[in-house]
Amino acid sequence: MSREEVFEKLNEVFRDVFDDDSITVNDTTTADDIEDWDSLEHINLMAAVESEFGIKYSMGQVVTMKNVGEMADIILEKLS
């Protein structure tokens, strides 16, 4: 899967989790950019991303992930 494809899928996941079709994420998107993205929603988001890509983040990755770019990097790394 290419990085672009990962982001395309991530967009869908984000739109579904936050119930907002206008969301488009990129490398530098962080929790500050999306209003409902608080720490609790973060856990839900991780679960949705995991089931979409069929991967599993470690707890350490869940709490240290800084932006969507990092999220995508880990996805690509796990898929390869």
């Binding site: 720490s39 609790l40 856990i43 839900n44 991780m46 679960a47 470690s58 707890m59 350490g60 869940v62 709490v63 240290t64």
Partner: protein, 495 residues
Amino acid sequence: MSITSFYFLCFFAAVLFLYYVIPKKAQWGFLLFVSLAYFMTSTEVADSGGWYVVFYPLGAVAAVYLAARLIDRTKEQKKRRAALICAVIFCVGLLCTLKFFRLGLLAPMGISFYTLTLLGYLFDVYYEIGPVQDNYGKLLLFGCYFPTMISGPIVKYQDMKEQMYGGHKFDYRQVTFGMQRMIWGFFKKLVISERMAVIANEIFDNYGSYAGFPIWIGAVAFTFQLYTDFAGCMDIVLGISQCFGIVLPENFNAPFLARNISEYWRRWHITLGTWLREYLFYPLLRTRFFMELPKKLKGRVGKKRAKQITTFSAMFILWFVIGYWHGGTWNFIIASGLLHWFYIVSGELMEPLFVKWRAIFRINVESKGFILFQRLRTFVLVMFGLIFFRSATVPDALRMIGRGFSAFNPQIFADGTLFSFGLDWIELVIALVSLVIFGWVTVEQQKGWIRERLEKKNIVFRWAVLYALLFYVILLGQYGPDFSASEFIYQNFKV
């Protein structure tokens, strides 16, 4: 040796002096020695002669130390997991056995705090987000650092490691700031909390002979007593630590300025909340059960509700643990656990209704009046919980609340009844004035540290304020039945 005792201040002065004369490299070792010595003189140990309790923290640190090293060295997930589980069972088992099951064994000072602190370190190593400590002595200091042994805060290893082992040069500003903070803590504890305790004790211990407003006065007094006691203790602890050049995390941020209960818990006992969120709540939500639950419910109740039910169920477990951690009996489980879960859940469920009401009554949510209403609401909700906290049993608390509603007697505010709760009028005035000072400082503090602002004022004003506060505490602190300023130094400083 209580931290508000005269002997403790002597002990602290001697330790502080030695800390800055010995070589910097020896400082952490010295702090470790002092921490263990302090532990051995704690009241639990002194009262029973049970010096063996020192083996509890030594053992817990050893278990965590070995497990963390093993986890760090092996890549095999099975072994890592086994080591983690063994150490967690050992530490939590020890904590529960000693503190909650009450088997007649002595629970050592600070066990609930050092257990969480050590487990947090172990989880961070396991999750590969924190470094490992290869020196047992250093980890022992991290777990048993004496200021935090008293009643927290729960610290994170990453925040502590450089400060604790790095060595510190004497820094005038840090040491004076630390001491000022201690005085402020003594003010809360000795001037306010001890006075509030007199009223709270009278009414809670004899609630059967009161009805109506006196009951609520007792509940309000206990709320202030507990808050100023705990927050004051934290000021003293953080102040002590700052004198050593070690900055500990804040545990309170004006909780009664919170506009709702969720916010209250982000401001009250902050380090406990953070710990439980990171090491209990999130991992819980990531278990298979809670990951699958929303998918199963989705078809039946819709996506939004499914998510809510999942979160609320996990929160139920979280709040049960918080309540249990506070005391292990039902009154604590309700007081600082399930009741707050109920507040938060019902608040969220009723939010759409509240939004509608606010629209109908055209309430400006950012107006001063509405914010004040929200803060008072927080206070009242917390106060109801604390009635359970202070009462001997749950039925006692319920009966007491019942008595509070059984009479309407505003005349007690005018007929002198107020002076019959154990404080005469001068003591009541001192208590109220102190509370006003405390409240004013709390509000001002939100705009930035008062100490830093004070620092910018001229020297005369600065010292006048500090001396005023110091004498205020010395003269008015430590209320007792035989209280007088001259007896204070000789008599009321008990170990």
